[in-house]
Point group: C2
Chain length 178, copies 2
């Protein structure tokens, strides 16, 4: 699909059809996530792919009961393995770069999903400790986002965005009307 | 350009030609950044576009002397306006969602740049206070990334990535050889 079209079509979907996602599609999604940039090219992003019903239900619960997570045929949890970044960058590595890098990989997943004719949602609202326990993440591996993936069961809806003028500043920040 | 090709071609570029970037190109880049998702659709991402030589030099200095920032014809600083997220989400809004959302917009900039035949680099290593001072950011507006944009002056180079097997886990995290 054309790049611009992928961006235009991308939206958060919170309802999925009862239809499986092909393994080849999942691999293409994972491969693209793996193309994400990372601080110091340390490649800290790791991906946990979940199809197990019970695990998905537990993740939904850990994500303040967002049940559509359990509904999706496959869930990808994007994590950052902070082991190497903490050694090189200290606190900024753990509290900033690890989140940035996880979000980079997540954004590539959200876009690739559209290119595959699929839909997804980025979920950032979850209990970190619960997710870590469910997925048996070591202490240095931080969950950054839970991304349920499947076929959309929602009618496309258009949300009004702020105008470009409201969010763009030239040369320095200028207070806009809020 | 095809979506997959954009992803394949994307890389961090740290040397730019002495050639201007068209205003229409910049607007297309900003528009795509503005398509980024955001926590609670609060659209906290704001963009500061800098062409002024002195400002670019100051930003390069604030970014531990990464001089290629000053070399680029245009620099986009992605910020998160945490005003609304802190009200709705508290600490998680400021320390997590604001970074995620800024990285989402940054990733879309990095990709759109490729689609425009341009090149860019994401710089996360900078002194936050210095950048805020230079751009006159209010306290609730956090700089997330400095992105110099221009025509590449580098030969494409291929970096070896870890294998997909090393970063993907199924159903739960499994310790890999490091």
């Amino acid at each position: 699909m054309e790049f611009e079209l992928v961006l235009k079509k991308r939206r958060m979907v919170r309802s999925f059809k009862d239809r499986q996602v092909g393994d080849a599609q999942i691999v293409r999604i994972l491969k693209n996530a793996h193309r994400a940039p990372s601080a110091g090219f340390l490649q800290q992003q790791e991906l946990v792919v979940i199809k197990n019903k019970e695990t998905k239900a537990k993740l939904a619960e850990a994500a303040v009961g967002q049940d559509f997570i359990a509904q999706a045929p496959v869930v990808i949890v994007v994590c950052s393995n902070t082991d190497r970044v903490v050694k090189r960058y200290g606190d900024r590595g753990v509290n900033f770069y690890s989140i940035i890098d996880g979000a980079f990989a997540s954004m590539l997943i959200l876009l690739t999903v559209v290119n595959e004719g699929l839909a997804a949602c980025f979920v950032g609202a979850f209990n970190d400790n619960e997710v870590s326990k469910i997925l048996k993440l070591p202490k240095h591996v931080k969950p950054i986002g839970i991304i349920p993936v499947g076929y959309s069961n929602e009618a496309p809806e258009k949300f009004e965005r702020m105008s470009l003028e409201e969010i763009v500043h030239y040369e320095r920040y200028a207070q806009k009307k809020s």
